[in-house]
């Protein structure tokens, strides 16, 4: 391995934390979706690093499945955002309180 495993995992940790902060701080639904993509990619990076370290193909199979899940999630999520925008004319999640109370 060209770098220690810890450095790969710490890079993954930094990207995951940035994604979490994006989900918690932003109010634009599209940006929140992009932050979720960042988190999924951080997990993929950790899986690839461990797969390389243990010289095993299993981590890469999990990355493959996570990518499938990300594609499905983005398709459904963006369809929900479009349906919401059609009804409410906004993507600000503070103004979307249809299910509150």
């Amino acid at each position: 391995m060209i770098v220690p495993l810890e450095h790969v995992v710490v890079l993954s940790l930094i990207i995951f934390s940035i994604g979490v902060l994006g989900v918690l701080f932003r109010r634009n639904a599209i940006t929140i979706f992009m932050s979720i993509e960042l988190m999924l990619n951080a997990v993929n990076l950790a899986l690839v690093g461990f797969s390389r370290y243990y010289n095993s193909v299993d981590g890469q199979v999990f990355v493959f499945l996570v990518m499938t899940l990300a594609a499905a999630e983005v398709a459904v999520g963006l369809a929900i955002i479009i349906a919401l925008y059609r009804n409410r004319q906004t993507v600000n999640i503070d103004e979307i309180n249809l299910m509150k109370n």
Binding site: L5, V20, N55, V57, V76
Partner: protein, 166 residues
């Protein structure tokens, strides 16, 4: 040695573009920065000798998913977002604290008192298409089939949600 230097440079680009994605107020710029982030992650996968995953990262994330994002951003005509009107400082401070706790916790666990985990220089054989395909169609056949079912469900759900009358 120069390859590990390349790793750290690309890691810096990845972190910078991820911060740009989160901080930028314009959704289109965020999407472009996310494409840069995916490409630099693909370079990191190449450096970790996961060749198929690197190609899939560019195909699926930088290709399919980001095109979908850009289509939706431009379909909804989202311009610059206004400055946040109601800041809830207590909520923000709490979430920042929790994320810091998470970060420091895993950081301490990973960079402990033991030395760094270098793999002894051994030929890595699992990065090509052949071992991955063999694992997918023998050991992981059931998850593979379930993934196809998941894609079918997502397809039907998307078509239903995108209809005019919901």
């Amino acid at each position: 040695m120069s390859l590990s230097l390349l790793f750290y440079c690309v890691a810096a680009i990845t972190i910078g573009s991820a911060v740009f994605v989160v901080l930028n107020r314009n959704a289109v710029y965020s999407a472009i920065a996310l494409v840069l982030c995916f490409f630099s992650l693909a370079v990191i996968y190449l450096l970790l000798e996961a060749y198929v995953i690197a190609v899939l990262e560019i195909f699926i994330y930088a290709g399919a998913i980001m095109v979908l994002f850009l289509f939706v951003i431009m379909l909804l005509n989202l311009g610059k977002e206004d400055a946040l009107p109601n800041l809830n400082y207590l909520q923000r401070a709490t979430s920042l604290l929790l994320v810091l706790l998470f970060f420091v916790g895993i950081f301490i666990v990973m960079i402990g008192d033991q030395g760094l985990l270098h793999q002894p220089t051994e030929q890595f054989l699992a990065g090509g298409i052949y071992p991955l395909g063999e694992a997918l169609f023998s050991k992981y056949l059931l998850p593979f089939e379930i993934a196809s079912l998941l894609l079918l469900v997502a397809l039907i759900g998307t078509v239903y949600l995108a209809k005019r009358k919901v």
